[in-house]
Amino acid sequence: MFQSLGKYIILLGLSFKKPEKFKVYWAEVMREMVSVGVGSLGIISIISVFIGAATTIQVAFQLSSPLVPRSIAGSISRDSNILEFSPTISSLVLAGRVGSNFASNIGTMRVTEQIDALEIMGVNAPGYLIAPKILASITMVPLLVVISIALGITGGYIACLVTGSITPADYLMGVHDGFDGLTIRVALVKAFVFGFLIASICSYQGFYTTGGALEVGQSATRGVVFSCVWILFADLMITSLML
């Protein structure tokens, strides 16, 4: 385990060495940003709307006491979305979509000697392949989480309109009441850390792939599993430190 941690840290160090030509690396960062950001927008939108809607219905169902104001369902739904569902569930989904893509992409390049070709040319392969993925993830995952929060709250509103579990007016009142900006900061810190974990862990797994197609698949699976575990661990740590 300590050997793997050492290799991971060394690989990260190599990834952020001075690039041979900034322009070429910047183009790669842009390409990865489009892939991570635009490419994941569809799935993030769908899960955010549905989770937001389901959360609102469930909270409204549980708060059936006449002593509790109905608008409280909006507040709970909002904070659940901001603090947990949008950053954590979105990142777990992104670990599957983006992380597996990173690991299999780099792993395939390893087993087909494309990484050797880069090194022969004198290119710092970790810098060219991994740094753009990490930069793209730590910028795009927070952006996706912000979009996810907005869509989650919208999903809750749609659920109110469609099911009538609480009135849309009560829901909106709850969403506005007692809003604390700290929750957004916590969500963004989580998204930044999760983005880093997804990109770095999956790239590490891909970079040290040996063998053939079977091992590329195994690397992708390991990358997703390890990133999910580390996301959940980091979630707990950030939540306990910041709240």
């Binding site: 041979e20 494309q114 070709a117």
Partner: protein, 250 residues
Amino acid sequence: MIEIKDIYKTFGDNEVLKGISATFQTGKNNLIIGGSGSGKTTLLKCIVGLHEPTKGQVFFEDENFTEMDFTDRVPIRTQIGMLFQNSALFDSMTVEENIMFPLNLFTQQSKAEKQDRANFCLERVNLKDKNKLYPAELSGGMKKRVGIARAISMQPKFLFVDEPNSGLDPKTSILIDDLINDLTAEYNMTTVIVTHDMNSVMGIGDHIIFLHQGQKWWEGSNKDIAHTDNQELNDFVFASKFMQAAKEKL
């Protein structure tokens, strides 16, 4: 010129290379031949720095490559072209982008100049008008030729080729061999080829080293090979009935 001195390479308990020394001359096709598992590809990877030798040194024109760190090696690496066994073209790039990749990173040329160079290299390997295709759209022989075009894009001094004929039909194999031979003369490169293809050995083997069990077993040229009394080399080169018949005619 490339000189290797007393190269050893061990993986765990497995000693793959056992003290190999050789000199690869400029302007010649230097072939490393041997059976499967004899250490040919490991030796090639030790020479280009993809593997670090356990012991021994590699000199590129008197510069000790083995002693250098990654950054110091970059100026030498920019003078190296390499064709990999499976071509190792970048899947996400077009043919033209593959060839322009090293130019983008290591030259200050304008886009037009780089495109001109890419077109020239593609014409040189008879693949004009294939610029916009992706590697997945090319045949095995075409991939090899694009690999060669990428390898020569920086006008290298040293060309390394790993199994250039693997997976190719005999006609395409000869075409690739001829191309490597012509380019070696044209650019006056030091070319090192790992192969077990006997047509290549007999056709373009200016200088041949034969590896057996991780050791240099024999050294000579394709003219010497038919007259050697080295038993292991004879067993390897003249294993097929066709080669045996050819030897009898020599």
